[in-house]
Protein backbone atom coordinates (compact mmCIF):
# COMPACT_ATOMS: atom_id res chain seq x y z
CA UNK A 1 0.00 0.00 0.00
CA UNK A 2 1.74 3.11 -1.18
CA UNK A 3 1.29 6.66 -0.06
CA UNK A 4 -1.48 7.55 -2.50
CA UNK A 5 -3.76 4.98 -0.94
CA UNK A 6 -4.10 7.30 2.03
CA UNK A 7 -6.22 9.57 -0.12
CA UNK A 8 -8.94 6.97 -0.49
CA UNK A 9 -11.04 8.29 2.41
CA UNK A 10 -10.56 11.87 1.30
CA UNK A 11 -11.65 10.89 -2.19
CA UNK A 12 -14.79 9.28 -0.73
CA UNK A 13 -15.74 12.32 1.33
CA UNK A 14 -14.84 14.56 -1.61
CA UNK A 15 -12.21 16.63 0.13
CA UNK A 16 -9.48 16.43 -2.49
CA UNK A 17 -8.64 19.39 -4.68
CA UNK A 18 -9.36 18.98 -8.38
CA UNK A 19 -5.69 18.24 -8.99
CA UNK A 20 -5.40 15.73 -6.14
CA UNK A 21 -8.58 14.09 -7.28
CA UNK A 22 -7.27 13.65 -10.78
CA UNK A 23 -4.02 12.19 -9.45
CA UNK A 24 -5.86 9.88 -7.16
CA UNK A 25 -8.17 8.67 -9.91
CA UNK A 26 -5.10 7.82 -11.96
CA UNK A 27 -3.74 5.89 -9.00
CA UNK A 28 -7.08 4.18 -8.48
CA UNK A 29 -7.05 2.69 -11.96
CA UNK A 30 -3.85 0.87 -11.12
CA UNK A 31 -4.22 0.08 -7.43
CA UNK A 32 -5.99 -3.18 -6.65
CA UNK A 33 -6.08 -2.35 -2.94
CA UNK A 34 -7.99 0.90 -3.44
CA UNK A 35 -10.32 -0.64 -6.00
CA UNK A 36 -11.13 -3.35 -3.55
CA UNK A 37 -11.84 -0.92 -0.72
CA UNK A 38 -13.55 1.88 -2.60
CA UNK A 39 -17.04 0.53 -3.15
CA UNK A 40 -17.79 -0.75 0.33
CA UNK A 41 -16.34 2.30 2.08
CA UNK A 42 -18.24 4.58 -0.25
CA UNK A 43 -21.46 2.74 0.50
CA UNK A 44 -20.72 3.06 4.19
CA UNK A 45 -20.24 6.80 3.87
CA UNK A 46 -23.39 7.18 1.75
CA UNK A 47 -25.46 5.07 4.09
CA UNK A 48 -24.95 7.63 6.85
CA UNK A 49 -27.63 9.60 5.02
CA UNK A 50 -30.28 7.23 6.27
CA UNK A 51 -29.85 8.20 9.88
CA UNK A 52 -32.78 10.54 9.51
CA UNK A 53 -36.20 10.84 11.01
CA UNK A 54 -38.71 10.62 8.22
CA UNK A 55 -41.15 13.46 8.45
CA UNK A 56 -44.17 14.47 6.43
CA UNK A 57 -43.51 16.98 3.71
CA UNK A 58 -45.78 20.05 3.75
CA UNK A 59 -48.38 19.79 0.98
CA UNK A 60 -47.59 23.29 -0.24
CA UNK A 61 -43.91 22.61 -0.78
CA UNK A 62 -44.26 21.10 -4.24
CA UNK A 63 -45.86 24.23 -5.66
CA UNK A 64 -43.18 26.35 -4.00
CA UNK A 65 -40.37 24.26 -5.42
CA UNK A 66 -41.86 24.19 -8.91
CA UNK A 67 -42.50 27.93 -8.87
CA UNK A 68 -38.95 28.53 -7.73
CA UNK A 69 -37.65 26.57 -10.68
CA UNK A 70 -40.02 27.52 -13.45
CA UNK A 71 -40.67 31.16 -12.65
CA UNK A 72 -37.11 32.10 -11.93
CA UNK A 73 -35.57 30.05 -14.63
CA UNK A 74 -36.65 30.31 -18.20
CA UNK A 75 -36.35 26.96 -19.90
CA UNK A 76 -32.83 26.76 -21.24
CA UNK A 77 -32.00 25.12 -24.47
CA UNK A 78 -29.65 22.36 -23.74
CA UNK A 79 -27.70 19.81 -25.59
CA UNK A 80 -29.44 16.53 -25.72
CA UNK A 81 -27.04 14.01 -24.42
CA UNK A 82 -27.88 10.36 -24.21
CA UNK A 83 -25.65 8.35 -21.99
CA UNK A 84 -24.65 4.96 -23.15
CA UNK A 85 -25.86 2.72 -20.43
CA UNK A 86 -25.34 -0.76 -19.28
CA UNK A 87 -28.42 -2.83 -19.73
CA UNK A 88 -28.00 -4.80 -16.55
CA UNK A 89 -28.07 -1.63 -14.49
CA UNK A 90 -31.19 -0.32 -16.15
CA UNK A 91 -32.87 -3.61 -15.58
CA UNK A 92 -31.86 -3.45 -11.97
CA UNK A 93 -33.28 0.03 -11.56
CA UNK A 94 -36.48 -1.00 -13.21
CA UNK A 95 -36.70 -3.92 -10.92
CA UNK A 96 -36.19 -1.91 -7.79
CA UNK A 97 -38.04 1.25 -8.56
CA UNK A 98 -40.91 0.24 -10.80
CA UNK A 99 -42.10 -2.00 -8.04
CA UNK A 100 -42.53 0.95 -5.77
CA UNK A 101 -45.52 1.84 -7.85
CA UNK A 102 -47.08 -1.54 -8.31
CA UNK A 103 -48.34 -3.87 -5.62
CA UNK A 104 -45.31 -4.70 -3.56
CA UNK A 105 -44.33 -8.15 -2.60
CA UNK A 106 -42.25 -8.86 0.44
CA UNK A 107 -39.55 -10.28 -1.78
CA UNK A 108 -39.37 -7.06 -3.68
CA UNK A 109 -39.59 -5.08 -0.50
CA UNK A 110 -36.56 -6.95 0.76
CA UNK A 111 -34.70 -6.13 -2.42
CA UNK A 112 -35.80 -2.55 -2.04
CA UNK A 113 -34.62 -2.43 1.52
CA UNK A 114 -31.25 -3.76 0.54
CA UNK A 115 -31.05 -1.80 -2.67
CA UNK A 116 -31.69 1.44 -0.87
CA UNK A 117 -28.47 1.49 1.01
CA UNK A 118 -26.63 -1.55 -0.17
CA UNK A 119 -25.94 -2.40 3.41
CA UNK A 120 -24.98 -5.59 5.02
CA UNK A 121 -27.26 -6.93 7.67
CA UNK A 122 -25.73 -7.82 10.95
CA UNK A 123 -28.78 -8.09 13.09
CA UNK A 124 -29.55 -11.77 13.23
CA UNK A 125 -33.25 -11.51 13.75
CA UNK A 126 -33.55 -9.04 10.96
CA UNK A 127 -31.33 -11.10 8.73
CA UNK A 128 -33.48 -14.15 9.30
CA UNK A 129 -36.63 -12.25 8.53
CA UNK A 130 -35.20 -10.88 5.34
CA UNK A 131 -33.69 -14.15 4.28
CA UNK A 132 -37.03 -15.78 4.87
CA UNK A 133 -38.73 -13.09 2.83
CA UNK A 134 -36.23 -13.40 0.03
CA UNK A 135 -36.52 -17.12 -0.24
CA UNK A 136 -40.23 -17.06 -0.63
CA UNK A 137 -42.19 -17.14 -3.82
CA UNK A 138 -43.13 -13.62 -4.70
CA UNK A 139 -46.77 -12.87 -4.06
CA UNK A 140 -48.93 -9.98 -3.01
CA UNK A 141 -48.70 -8.71 0.54
CA UNK A 142 -51.62 -7.31 2.36
CA UNK A 143 -52.01 -5.40 5.53
CA UNK A 144 -54.39 -7.65 7.40
CA UNK A 145 -54.93 -5.25 10.24
CA UNK A 146 -53.45 -2.25 11.94
CA UNK A 147 -53.37 -1.49 15.64
CA UNK A 148 -52.75 1.72 17.49
CA UNK A 149 -50.65 1.45 20.63
CA UNK A 150 -50.81 3.85 23.51
CA UNK A 151 -48.48 4.29 26.45
CA UNK A 152 -49.47 4.22 30.08
CA UNK A 153 -47.75 4.67 33.43
CA UNK A 154 -44.01 5.08 32.94
CA UNK A 155 -44.41 5.44 29.21
CA UNK A 156 -47.51 7.62 29.16
CA UNK A 157 -46.10 9.80 26.38
CA UNK A 158 -45.33 6.85 24.10
CA UNK A 159 -47.39 5.84 21.12
CA UNK A 160 -47.03 3.50 18.21
CA UNK A 161 -48.56 1.46 15.46
CA UNK A 162 -48.54 -2.19 14.62
CA UNK A 163 -49.19 -3.77 11.26
CA UNK A 164 -50.06 -7.33 10.53
CA UNK A 165 -48.72 -8.18 7.10
CA UNK A 166 -49.74 -11.30 5.25
CA UNK A 167 -48.06 -12.96 2.34
CA UNK A 168 -49.63 -16.27 1.38
CA UNK A 169 -50.01 -18.15 4.63
CA UNK A 170 -47.22 -16.24 6.39
CA UNK A 171 -48.04 -13.48 8.77
CA UNK A 172 -45.58 -10.98 10.16
CA UNK A 173 -46.15 -8.36 12.78
CA UNK A 174 -44.33 -5.05 12.45
CA UNK A 175 -44.48 -2.75 15.45
CA UNK A 176 -43.21 0.78 15.42
CA UNK A 177 -43.00 2.80 18.63
CA UNK A 178 -42.29 6.46 19.26
CA UNK A 179 -41.54 8.60 22.30
CA UNK A 180 -40.47 5.67 24.44
CA UNK A 181 -38.60 6.50 27.63
CA UNK A 182 -35.01 5.20 27.49
CA UNK A 183 -34.04 1.91 29.10
CA UNK A 184 -31.32 1.38 31.69
CA UNK A 185 -28.71 -1.37 31.75
CA UNK A 186 -30.36 -4.68 30.95
CA UNK A 187 -33.88 -3.31 30.83
CA UNK A 188 -35.80 -4.04 27.66
CA UNK A 189 -39.29 -3.49 26.36
CA UNK A 190 -40.93 -6.79 25.68
CA UNK A 191 -43.82 -7.38 23.33
CA UNK A 192 -46.55 -9.85 24.27
CA UNK A 193 -49.39 -11.14 22.16
CA UNK A 194 -52.46 -11.72 24.26
CA UNK A 195 -55.10 -14.32 23.54
CA UNK A 196 -57.70 -15.56 26.02
CA UNK A 197 -55.56 -14.64 28.99
CA UNK A 198 -52.38 -16.32 27.70
CA UNK A 199 -49.29 -14.42 26.66
CA UNK A 200 -46.93 -15.19 23.85
CA UNK A 201 -43.49 -13.53 23.80
CA UNK A 202 -43.01 -11.63 20.53
CA UNK A 203 -39.56 -10.21 21.13
CA UNK A 204 -37.78 -7.40 22.92
CA UNK A 205 -36.42 -4.03 21.91
CA UNK A 206 -34.49 -1.08 23.19
CA UNK A 207 -35.51 2.32 21.81
CA UNK A 208 -32.92 4.57 20.18
CA UNK A 209 -31.84 7.84 21.77
CA UNK A 210 -34.83 9.58 20.21
CA UNK A 211 -37.22 7.13 21.80
CA UNK A 212 -38.06 5.27 18.60
CA UNK A 213 -38.13 1.52 18.35
CA UNK A 214 -39.05 -1.04 15.76
CA UNK A 215 -39.58 -4.76 15.95
CA UNK A 216 -40.65 -7.38 13.46
CA UNK A 217 -42.05 -10.72 14.52
CA UNK A 218 -43.03 -13.67 12.39
CA UNK A 219 -46.14 -15.29 13.77
CA UNK A 220 -46.13 -19.05 14.20
CA UNK A 221 -48.56 -20.80 11.81
CA UNK A 222 -52.20 -20.48 12.75
CA UNK A 223 -51.34 -18.20 15.64
CA UNK A 224 -53.77 -15.43 16.37
CA UNK A 225 -54.06 -12.84 19.10
CA UNK A 226 -56.53 -10.28 20.36
CA UNK A 227 -54.30 -7.62 21.82
CA UNK A 228 -50.72 -6.48 22.01
CA UNK A 229 -49.15 -5.56 25.34
CA UNK A 230 -45.71 -4.17 26.04
CA UNK A 231 -43.96 -4.42 29.38
CA UNK A 232 -40.73 -2.96 30.70
CA UNK A 233 -38.67 -5.95 31.80
CA UNK A 234 -35.67 -5.78 34.13
CA UNK A 235 -33.81 -8.20 31.83
CA UNK A 236 -34.31 -9.83 28.44
CA UNK A 237 -35.60 -13.33 27.64
CA UNK A 238 -38.41 -13.63 30.12
CA UNK A 239 -41.06 -16.15 29.16
CA UNK A 240 -43.62 -14.49 31.39
CA UNK A 241 -43.79 -10.79 32.17
CA UNK A 242 -42.08 -9.69 35.41
CA UNK A 243 -42.19 -5.98 34.76
CA UNK A 244 -45.07 -3.56 34.53
CA UNK A 245 -47.21 -3.01 31.47
CA UNK A 246 -46.34 0.26 29.79
CA UNK A 247 -48.15 0.07 26.46
CA UNK A 248 -51.05 -1.67 24.86
CA UNK A 249 -53.63 -1.70 22.11
CA UNK A 250 -56.79 0.15 22.85
Amino acid sequence: MENKCENLSLYIIDELTAREKEQYERHLRMCAHCQHELESLQETWQSLFYEIEEVDVPETLKAEVMDFIFEKNEPVQREHKVETTKKSLIERFKFIFKKQFSPLSTGVAAVLIIGLAGLYWHNLHLKDTITALENEAVGPVQIVSTYALKGQGLAASANGNAYLLQEGSDISLVIELNNMPGTKDKEVYQVWLLKNGTRQNAGTLKPDQNGNGLITYRLPPAHSFDDIGITLEPNPNNTQPQGVKVMGTF
Binding site: S9, K62, V65, I69, F93, K94, L112, Y120, N161
Partner: protein, 194 residues
Protein backbone atom coordinates in the same frame (compact mmCIF):
# COMPACT_ATOMS: atom_id res chain seq x y z
CA UNK B 1 -44.44 8.82 -15.90
CA UNK B 2 -45.04 6.46 -13.03
CA UNK B 3 -43.76 3.49 -15.00
CA UNK B 4 -40.52 5.23 -15.97
CA UNK B 5 -37.26 4.44 -14.25
CA UNK B 6 -35.41 7.24 -12.49
CA UNK B 7 -32.90 7.09 -15.25
CA UNK B 8 -35.50 7.54 -17.96
CA UNK B 9 -36.91 10.47 -16.02
CA UNK B 10 -33.48 12.09 -15.92
CA UNK B 11 -33.22 11.76 -19.69
CA UNK B 12 -36.60 13.44 -20.06
CA UNK B 13 -35.48 16.21 -17.73
CA UNK B 14 -32.54 16.91 -20.01
CA UNK B 15 -35.14 17.40 -22.74
CA UNK B 16 -37.05 19.85 -20.53
CA UNK B 17 -39.97 17.65 -19.55
CA UNK B 18 -41.37 19.27 -16.47
CA UNK B 19 -43.55 16.29 -15.59
CA UNK B 20 -40.49 14.11 -15.29
CA UNK B 21 -39.12 16.47 -12.66
CA UNK B 22 -42.43 16.41 -10.81
CA UNK B 23 -42.39 12.64 -10.83
CA UNK B 24 -38.89 12.58 -9.34
CA UNK B 25 -40.10 15.09 -6.78
CA UNK B 26 -42.92 12.78 -5.76
CA UNK B 27 -40.57 9.84 -5.48
CA UNK B 28 -37.82 11.44 -3.45
CA UNK B 29 -39.02 14.57 -1.74
CA UNK B 30 -39.68 12.81 1.55
CA UNK B 31 -36.11 11.56 1.80
CA UNK B 32 -34.64 14.86 0.71
CA UNK B 33 -36.91 16.88 2.96
CA UNK B 34 -36.25 14.72 6.02
CA UNK B 35 -32.52 14.85 5.44
CA UNK B 36 -32.54 18.61 4.94
CA UNK B 37 -34.57 19.10 8.07
CA UNK B 38 -32.06 17.10 10.07
CA UNK B 39 -29.01 18.77 8.64
CA UNK B 40 -30.54 22.23 9.11
CA UNK B 41 -31.42 21.30 12.70
CA UNK B 42 -35.16 21.61 12.25
CA UNK B 43 -35.11 24.94 10.43
CA UNK B 44 -38.02 24.66 7.99
CA UNK B 45 -37.07 27.76 5.97
CA UNK B 46 -33.61 26.44 5.35
CA UNK B 47 -35.05 23.02 4.60
CA UNK B 48 -37.24 24.52 1.92
CA UNK B 49 -34.28 26.35 0.45
CA UNK B 50 -32.26 23.14 0.22
CA UNK B 51 -35.12 21.22 -1.39
CA UNK B 52 -35.61 24.00 -3.93
CA UNK B 53 -31.92 24.05 -4.78
CA UNK B 54 -31.75 20.28 -5.13
CA UNK B 55 -34.56 20.20 -7.67
CA UNK B 56 -33.21 23.26 -9.41
CA UNK B 57 -29.90 21.44 -9.73
CA UNK B 58 -31.68 18.42 -11.18
CA UNK B 59 -33.48 20.62 -13.66
CA UNK B 60 -30.50 22.62 -14.81
CA UNK B 61 -27.87 19.95 -14.53
CA UNK B 62 -25.86 19.64 -17.70
CA UNK B 63 -24.13 16.43 -16.86
CA UNK B 64 -26.70 13.73 -16.65
CA UNK B 65 -26.60 11.09 -14.04
CA UNK B 66 -24.22 8.34 -15.05
CA UNK B 67 -25.56 4.89 -14.07
CA UNK B 68 -22.11 3.36 -14.45
CA UNK B 69 -21.10 5.30 -11.36
CA UNK B 70 -23.69 3.90 -9.01
CA UNK B 71 -27.29 3.95 -7.96
CA UNK B 72 -29.46 6.93 -8.80
CA UNK B 73 -30.61 7.33 -5.23
CA UNK B 74 -27.05 7.60 -3.95
CA UNK B 75 -26.23 10.14 -6.63
CA UNK B 76 -29.27 12.19 -5.64
CA UNK B 77 -28.49 11.99 -1.95
CA UNK B 78 -24.91 13.06 -2.58
CA UNK B 79 -26.17 16.12 -4.46
CA UNK B 80 -28.55 16.87 -1.63
CA UNK B 81 -25.83 16.66 0.98
CA UNK B 82 -23.43 18.80 -1.05
CA UNK B 83 -26.01 21.54 -1.46
CA UNK B 84 -26.96 21.41 2.20
CA UNK B 85 -23.34 21.47 3.36
CA UNK B 86 -22.55 24.44 1.11
CA UNK B 87 -25.44 26.32 2.65
CA UNK B 88 -24.48 25.37 6.18
CA UNK B 89 -20.83 26.28 5.67
CA UNK B 90 -21.89 29.73 4.54
CA UNK B 91 -23.95 30.15 7.68
CA UNK B 92 -21.37 28.75 10.06
CA UNK B 93 -19.22 31.77 9.51
CA UNK B 94 -21.90 33.88 11.18
CA UNK B 95 -23.35 31.69 13.86
CA UNK B 96 -22.34 29.35 16.62
CA UNK B 97 -23.90 25.95 16.96
CA UNK B 98 -27.60 25.61 17.50
CA UNK B 99 -28.97 22.92 19.77
CA UNK B 100 -29.97 19.85 17.88
CA UNK B 101 -33.69 19.53 17.75
CA UNK B 102 -35.96 17.47 15.59
CA UNK B 103 -39.61 17.25 15.00
CA UNK B 104 -41.05 14.10 16.42
CA UNK B 105 -41.40 11.39 13.88
CA UNK B 106 -44.81 11.51 12.31
CA UNK B 107 -46.97 8.57 12.98
CA UNK B 108 -47.91 6.40 10.11
CA UNK B 109 -51.62 6.00 10.08
CA UNK B 110 -53.39 4.70 7.03
CA UNK B 111 -50.63 4.86 4.52
CA UNK B 112 -50.34 2.54 1.61
CA UNK B 113 -48.52 -0.69 2.17
CA UNK B 114 -45.53 0.42 0.13
CA UNK B 115 -45.14 3.52 2.26
CA UNK B 116 -45.20 1.38 5.34
CA UNK B 117 -42.64 -1.01 3.96
CA UNK B 118 -40.39 1.79 2.80
CA UNK B 119 -40.67 3.52 6.11
CA UNK B 120 -39.93 0.32 7.92
CA UNK B 121 -37.02 -0.50 5.66
CA UNK B 122 -35.44 2.89 6.15
CA UNK B 123 -35.94 2.65 9.86
CA UNK B 124 -34.16 -0.66 9.79
CA UNK B 125 -31.27 0.90 7.94
CA UNK B 126 -31.25 3.69 10.47
CA UNK B 127 -31.12 1.24 13.32
CA UNK B 128 -28.18 -0.46 11.66
CA UNK B 129 -26.31 2.80 11.39
CA UNK B 130 -27.04 3.81 14.94
CA UNK B 131 -26.06 0.41 16.17
CA UNK B 132 -22.81 0.56 14.22
CA UNK B 133 -22.10 4.07 15.49
CA UNK B 134 -22.41 2.88 19.05
CA UNK B 135 -19.30 0.80 18.47
CA UNK B 136 -17.21 3.79 17.55
CA UNK B 137 -14.99 5.52 20.08
CA UNK B 138 -15.97 9.01 21.30
CA UNK B 139 -13.53 10.81 18.98
CA UNK B 140 -14.65 8.65 16.06
CA UNK B 141 -18.32 9.46 16.68
CA UNK B 142 -17.49 13.13 17.00
CA UNK B 143 -15.59 13.01 13.73
CA UNK B 144 -18.51 11.49 11.82
CA UNK B 145 -20.98 13.96 13.24
CA UNK B 146 -18.80 16.99 12.58
CA UNK B 147 -17.89 15.80 9.12
CA UNK B 148 -21.10 14.30 7.87
CA UNK B 149 -23.78 16.25 9.66
CA UNK B 150 -22.14 19.52 10.63
CA UNK B 151 -20.27 20.01 7.39
CA UNK B 152 -16.84 20.76 8.85
CA UNK B 153 -13.83 20.08 6.67
CA UNK B 154 -11.08 17.78 7.91
CA UNK B 155 -8.71 20.67 8.54
CA UNK B 156 -11.36 22.49 10.56
CA UNK B 157 -11.87 19.35 12.60
CA UNK B 158 -8.13 19.01 13.12
CA UNK B 159 -8.16 22.53 14.52
CA UNK B 160 -11.17 21.87 16.76
CA UNK B 161 -9.62 18.68 18.07
CA UNK B 162 -6.16 20.22 18.34
CA UNK B 163 -4.65 17.32 16.43
CA UNK B 164 -2.47 17.20 13.33
CA UNK B 165 -4.41 16.83 10.07
CA UNK B 166 -2.69 13.51 9.44
CA UNK B 167 -4.15 12.11 12.65
CA UNK B 168 -7.64 13.16 11.65
CA UNK B 169 -7.17 11.67 8.19
CA UNK B 170 -6.20 8.30 9.55
CA UNK B 171 -8.96 8.52 12.14
CA UNK B 172 -11.43 8.98 9.29
CA UNK B 173 -10.07 5.96 7.50
CA UNK B 174 -10.27 3.84 10.64
CA UNK B 175 -13.79 5.05 11.36
CA UNK B 176 -15.13 4.25 7.90
CA UNK B 177 -13.54 0.84 8.05
CA UNK B 178 -14.97 0.16 11.48
CA UNK B 179 -18.47 1.17 10.40
CA UNK B 180 -18.21 -0.97 7.30
CA UNK B 181 -16.95 -3.95 9.22
CA UNK B 182 -19.72 -3.56 11.69
CA UNK B 183 -22.31 -3.50 8.92
CA UNK B 184 -20.88 -6.68 7.48
CA UNK B 185 -20.42 -8.49 10.78
CA UNK B 186 -22.47 -11.58 11.50
CA UNK B 187 -23.76 -11.91 7.96
CA UNK B 188 -21.40 -14.78 7.36
CA UNK B 189 -19.99 -12.86 4.45
CA UNK B 190 -23.26 -13.11 2.53
CA UNK B 191 -23.63 -9.96 0.56
CA UNK B 192 -27.01 -8.74 -0.57
CA UNK B 193 -27.63 -6.37 -3.41
CA UNK B 194 -25.41 -6.08 -6.43
Amino acid sequence: MKSKTDEELMELIVQNHRQALEELYDRYVKLIYSFSLKISKGNTDKTKEIVQLVFLRLWTTKSTYNPAKGQFVNWLLTITRNIAIDLIRKEQKHKGTIPFELDEMQQIQDQQLEDVLQQVSRNLVKQQIQEAKRHLSEPQQRLINLLYWEGYSLSEIAELEKKPLGTIKSRLHQTLKKLRNYFSKETGGARHGK
